[in-house]
Each structure stands twice: as C-alpha cells, then as structure tokens.
Amino acid sequence: SQKIEQNSEALNIQEGKTATLTCNYTNYSPAYLQWYRQDPGRGPVFLLLIRENEKEKRKERLKVTFDTTLKQSLFHITASQPADSATYLCAHNNAGNMLTFGGGTRLMVKP
C-alpha cells in the first residue's frame, strides 16, 4: 500500500535561513499532495496543495515542489523565523480519495 514518509528527526536551523522538508511516497503518484502546519495540541492548518501536473507552487515565503520521477515533494520556508517552529505534515489522497498523512517533521528555528 502507499506510504508517505517524512523525516522523523527534528530539523534545527538558524533564523533567516531556508528550511527544506522532504516528503516521499512509495508507490503511485497521488493526484495531489497537501502540506499542513501543526502546533502542539492544535489541529493542522492547511498551507499548500500541489497537483501532480504542477512542478512548483508558492505562497508568500512558502514553496512546494512535486517531482513524480523522484516520488518526492519538497517544502521550503525562506527567511525562516522562530514563529515558523512547528511540525509540518505532508498528506496525499489515496485511491479512495481520503487523505493519508506522513508522520510529520518538527522544525525548530533558532533566533
């Protein structure tokens, strides 16, 4: 079955740098991938959706890429700030069009 894999280790970066998070899937290319931010004890907040036929999508300091050859999506935060510290979740739609989530990657931006 399809699996979504994210780096379970926390990513620590310095304020002002670009954070890059990785989401890999194992089998078929999903029609789209979604990225969410989740703060402790809170529900996920939708950030970006990228479709299979889109190479890149941007929103303010956020950028998402989708490489169907590598079976990978990258999530970038440019000019990172301590307020960007959170867990970031990648999700894809499965065959039944239900969202399946990766384990999430915790990002820590240090001032």
Binding site: G41, V45, F46, L49, L89, G103
Partner: protein, 114 residues
C-alpha cells in the same frame, strides 16, 4: 477556507464512560471526516461522515465504539464509547469543501481517560 469549531476543546473522563464531541462548520459541506491523533503520532482517519448516508469506518474502527451522527450539512458528532486510557488522544473534525481538494481541520478535542 472553512471555519470549524469543536466542543469540548478538552476533557478528562473516567474509564467506562462516553464522551460526545461536536463539530460545527461555518458553511455547508458534504464531506466531513473524523481523525484521531495519539500522543506523538500522526493523524489516523476514523471515519467519513457524509450527510445523507451512514458513516464509513476505516479498518480498526467500529460504529459501536465510535458512533457518528451527521444530521445536516454543517454539523456532526463523534461519540467515544466505553472509554479506556488507550482512547486518550486528540480527536479532530475535518471537512472538504464541495468541488475543492483542500481539506481543513478543526482545533481538536484533547481527551484524557483516567
């Protein structure tokens, strides 16, 4: 986007009791989902609750344990029945707007079972 509210935001319950979680959306949506997020884990889909049909449960979740109501297009409830400490989790309501792929989540209900 969609604005989703959940009640209660948190609760501490005794083993063997039941808790009903309410989910209210600011607009009419057909597709509504209930997720569970256990401590340190990612989200797991419990069931899909589309208005006008019976809820569809994922593997490992049954109606007797997690009965769901969906009386209209803006509201749903999830009941966690006969609770045990293993049910301690965050329970999340989620919706997908008709004709859109983006999915939105409520703030969650943090449940602790003693």
């Amino acid at each position: 986007s969609a604005v989703i509210s959940q009640k209660p935001s948190r609760d501490i319950c005794q083993r063997g009791t039941s808790l009903t979680i309410q989910c209210q959306v600011d607009s009419q949506v057909t597709m509504m989902f209930w997720y569970r997020q256990q401590p340190g884990q990612s989200l797991t889909l419990i069931a899909t609750a589309n208005q006008g049909s019976e809820a569809t449960y994922e593997s490992g979740f049954v109606i007797d344990k997690f009965p769901i109501s969906r009386p209209n297009l803006t509201f749903s409830t999830l009941t966690v029945s006969n609770m045990s400490p293993e049910d301690s989790s965050i329970y999340l309501c989620s919706v997908r707007r008709d004709s859109y792929n983006e999915q939105f989540f409520g703030p969650g209900t943090r449940l602790t079972v003693l």
